[in-house]
């Protein structure tokens, strides 16, 4: 029997608001443990939460970017469970009325567009961090545990996809696309290595053609896109192995081990699945007015998917469009300005994704510091197209422009990079070369094509490499055929 994998992904995004979700403590990474804390995020007796409005605007932006509906009214619930780094022993989260619901995200996999449903995006608060001492950081046999509540109460958005993903690769692309959207919106650091974006995957398999869902397994602890893809691929194979050998997949949570490349079952505590959700009585319902939603929608930047489609429509090859779209906003603006100044979109994209990026990286500067504007790039492209500079000289011109030496034509002139295109001068040089190589003309007459290359080389040599090789080529052919 052949099996179809069914995958849904939950993405946790830590928001980079100034203050935490329900108190005034700063949101930041690192620092001395337990320095960004107050009665509310420490769960001291009597302390109360107050909702961060900016966090609500951020989740609305994420929802709108995923074509979600924004609820008119949304409520917080308490998710009750005991854990040492959860100070109140309940997490303020959302249950049946999330801020955003029913959206979708289009992803491109192997040249095919797939629409992945978004079930919901809800708002919650992050927990503190436990550090287990000894035993290699594992909880079992640890000598002790340190608790840092700096992260406690940091706003967290959970985006839950529908089980619409069908492969490990699709899942990885979905996660990457979601990350790029969140980064574009500027609502999160969106850095996997710092844990500001975290993924859980729900994986099940079903016989090809079936519509019912199989028993799902939740996988945790995937810290990179690569490990997400590997973990899901492993889990699909594992489940197929289980059922093919007559077994049954059991519903459980499995932990991905990056080193060994396998998932293994986590010992799940008894009864931990009953969170006893009820409406958070310390908060009032949030009301998202049409005006508020519209204002957020208006502020949304162009999103990566839309941008790639626009580049492609302008004539940029798909691969280049993808690379360009992922570049820094300043470099993308350079592209838009160059195109506006008349540059061909593909050439502008090639220059920016190639030479400009390489130069910026090598110089170790920020993209916004680049001394190249759209009109200059368009001018450089025009010079190459008309043959005023060779493509290798053009790179030197670019270096000059980026180094602040002036506009492309000025730089080419100053650095003596302009190609010799004066017909009289070139004809004289060609005549001299032909006169010096009478046998070459005979060979050409006998059909020896390659002799043209040799003659062009001689002219280039005679002109110190400044002659426009295309023009020289043309002149030599004319003379020999004449």
């Amino acid at each position: 029997m052949s099996w179809e994998p069914v995958i849904g992904i939950e993405v946790h995004v830590e928001l980079m608001t100034d203050s935490k979700m329900f108190c005034g403590c700063a949101v930041d990474f690192g620092g001395e443990p337990n320095t960004r804390v107050c009665p509310t995020c420490l769960g001291l007796p009597g302390a109360l939460p107050v909702t961060n409005r900016v966090a609500i605007e951020s989740i609305m932006a994420i929802g709108l970017a995923l074509d979600c509906e924004v609820s008119d009214r949304s409520v917080f619930h308490r998710k009750n469970y005991f854990y040492a780094d959860l100070p109140k022993n309940f997490q303020i989260s959302q249950f049946d009325v999330p801020v955003c619901h029913d959206g979708h995200l289009d992803i491109e996999v192997d040249g095919e567009t797939r629409r992945i449903g978004i079930e919901r995006a809800h708002m919650e608060e992050d927990t503190g961090k436990s550090t287990h001492l000894g035993a290699g950081g594992r909880i079992h046999a640890a000598e002790g545990t340190l608790l840092d509540f700096n992260r406690s109460g940091v706003p967290l958005v959970e985006v839950v996809s529908r089980p619409d993903l069908r492969s490990a690769t699709e899942s990885r692309v979905y996660a990457q696309e979601l990350r790029s959207i969140v980064a574009e919106l500027g609502v999160s650091d969106a850095r996997l290595e710092e844990g500001s974006i975290r993924f859980d995957a729900n994986v099940s398999i079903r016989p090809d053609g079936d519509h019912a869902l199989g028993t799902k397994v939740e996988i945790k602890n995937m810290n990179s896109f690569r490990s997400l893809e590997r973990a899901i691929a492993f889990e699909i194979e594992r489940q197929i192995g289980v059922v093919d050998s007559g077994g049954e997949v059991i519903q459980e949570t499995r932990h991905w081990d990056e080193e060994t490349g396998v998932t293994h079952s986590m010992r799940v505590k008894e009864g931990s699945s009953d969170y006893r959700y009820f409406t958070e009585p310390d908060l009032v319902p949030m009301v998202m007015t049409t005006e508020w939603v519209a204002a957020i929608e208006q502020r949304l930047p162009e999103l990566p998917g839309h941008r790639r489609a626009r580049y492609a429509a302008q004539g940029v090859a798909e691969g280049t469009a993808g690379v360009l779209s992922a570049l820094d906003a300043d470099l993308r603006r350079l592209y838009d300005e160059a195109v506006l100044s008349g540059a061909s979109p593909q050439s502008a994209a090639n220059w920016i994704t190639g030479e400009v990026v390489a130069w910026v990286r090598k110089a170790g500067i920020e993209a916004r510091e680049v001394a190249l504007d759209g009109p200059s790039l368009a001018e450089l492209i025009e010079m190459v197209d008309e043959g005023s500079v060779s493509s290798s000289a053009a790179k030197e011109v670019l270096d000059g422009v980026l180094s602040g030496e002036g506009r492309p034509r000025e730089v080419a002139d100053q650095r003596d990079l302009l190609q010799m295109r004066d017909a009289g001068t070139l004809e004289k040089a060609v005549a001299e070369v032909l006169a010096a190589h009478p046998r070459a003309i005979e060979e050409f007459g006998a059909g020896e094509e390659k002799v043209v290359g040799f003659l062009v080389g001689q002219v280039m040599k005679a002109t110190d490499g400044k002659a426009d090789p295309r023009l020289v080529n043309q002149l030599i052919r004319e003379r020999m055929s004449g």
Binding site: P39, L42, G43, L44, P45, G46, A47, L48, P49, V50, T51, R78, N80, F82, A84, P87, K88, N89, F90, T145, L147, K269, D274, R276, Y277, F278, P281, D282, L283, V284
Partner: protein
């Protein structure tokens, strides 16, 4: 402080007396007055706080072992307001552990006794605050009322106790019992003092998301209006079985006097009052089970070690919580559990909505509703400790106002044949504090009640 030193040995109204802090505050109040600074009606007034309100630097235990030695790093909003109003905080009063109880016998630190009869309870859960005001060891005290915890002890101790409209007094810094029901309010010796005390603590607080942001009533201005032309409803359901004859007689008598004073009296039936208690004992414990989850031995308070974190938490909680708290946490956990939620918590919420509708209908016909505050006078210590249901029935008259978020006040109207005080309850719609105080002031005038608790006789 002097009175406290003479009465505390018998009453045990306080868990902490902050002699040093009180003297400093009193000196500051004097100095301010000398400088021409008058901080308002509470300037220099000795007040007591129920020990579930956080006081910076002063031990706050909620009468629980689990918070033994806990010193909050911040003041509750009410405390901040009292301090800036020049009040002198004399100490922290006893209560039923986490405000769960009706007799103050559930305190982990010993019972408080009734100043009128030292063999009897002061009511609860704010029994220490009520006893302190009755005995005169504070002029005003503040308590919290989740299901009668201010009004019932006020009634049993012969003082004025009121629960404001939900959301008008900040809960920031009040150790939560049931967040959707808890409300801080004052104990006073007179209705006028009560109105002044309320005005000093209420108002919008950005730290409490449920805080009311609109216009606030002005009860002080309504005290002398009289009651001519007002319509009063006597709640049918709050009489009969379980109500002591002396209590019923005092209530009937007061209603008759009000009628003579120009009030239009009618009987009003609110059928949902009969099931309010049952619904309350699902909602309040459910919220409590979650609110009290934070007491786990990890960050503050009592810690009983264990081999694992789970064991540490379980042992700490088992040892730190008394039997009534444990009972309610279990009850609440159960009523929120998957499979039971709809039948218990969900159903209780529907009853709560029905109670609010009942009230709304009643207030179309009358301006205020009246009833006894408590079905009985102060009962003997130990009389109800073995029977939780009998104890729960102590608050039968009080719970509906909490379920609706409405204000209600208890005013002493007389003594029974044994010399124990009887309270009269006036309920009003949300933000109806003006009409409520208007009636309460008239009740006080008509009753002519005098606070003369026996504890002072021996102590004097």
């Amino acid at each position: 402080m002097d009175i406290a030193s003479r009465t505390e040995a018998q009453l045990h109204a306080f868990l902490t007396i902050d002699g040093q802090g009180a003297r400093e505050a009193a000196r500051q109040a004097d100095a301010d007055l000398a400088d021409g600074i008058d901080r308002g009606p509470l300037h220099g007034i000795p007040v007591a706080l129920k020990d579930n309100m956080c006081t910076r630097g002063v031990e706050t235990t909620a009468a629980s072992q689990i918070l033994a030695g806990y010193i909050p790093p911040y003041d509750a909003t009410v405390v901040t307001r009292l301090r800036s109003g020049g009040a002198v905080i004399v100490g922290k009063t006893n209560l039923d552990e986490f405000a769960m109880g009706s007799s103050t016998e559930n305190s982990a630190y010993g019972t408080t006794y009734n100043p009128w009869d030292l063999s009897r309870v002061p009511g609860g859960s704010s029994g220490g605050s009520a006893a302190s005001v009755a005995a005169g060891s504070s002029l005003l005290a503040f308590g919290s009322d989740t299901g009668g915890s201010i009004r019932q002890p006020a009634s049993l101790c012969g003082v004025v106790g009121m629960k404001p409209t939900y959301g008008t007094v900040s809960r920031y810094g009040l150790i939560a019992f049931a967040s959707s029901l808890d409300q801080i309010g004052p104990f006073a010796r007179t209705v006028g003092d009560s109105a002044l005390a309320l005005a000093s603590i209420w108002g919008y607080d950005p730290l409490d998301s449920t805080s009311y942001q609109g216009e606030y009533p002005n009860p002080d201005a309504s005290l002398d209006r009289g009651v001519d032309g007002l319509r009063i409803g006597v709640v049918t359901e709050l009489s009969g079985d379980g109500f002591e004859p002396a209590v019923e007689a005092a209530t009937t008598d007061m209603v008759a006097r009000l009628e003579k004073a120009g009030v239009k009296v009618s009987e009003v039936s609110l059928p949902t009052f009969d099931i309010a208690l049952s619904a309350y004992y699902l909602i309040a414990p459910a919220e409590a089970s979650s609110n009290l989850a934070r007491f786990d031995g990890i960050r503050y308070g009592l810690r009983v070690d264990g081999a694992t974190t789970e064991e540490l938490m379980a042992r700490t909680r088992a040892e730190g919580f008394g039997p009534e708290v444990t009972r309610r946490v279990l009850l609440g956990t159960y009523s929120l559990s998957a499979g039971y939620y709809d039948a218990f918590y969900g159903q209780a919420q529907r009853v709560r909505a029905a109670i609010q509708e009942d009230f709304a209908r009643a207030y179309e016909q009358v301006d205020v509703l009246v009833s006894p505050t408590s079905p009985t006078v102060a009962f003997e210590a130990g009389a109800r400790t073995a029977d939780p249901l009998a104890m729960y029935l102590s608050d039968i008259c009080n719970i509906p106002a909490n379920m609706a978020g409405h204000p209600a006040i208890s005013v002493p109207v007389g003594l029974d044949e044994a010399g124990l005080p009887i309270g009269f309850q006036v309920m009003a719609p949300a933000l109806g504090e003006e009409v409520m105080y208007q009636v309460a002031a008239e009740v006080e005038r008509l009753a002519g009640f005098e606070i003369s608790p026996r504890v002072l006789e021996g102590a004097a």
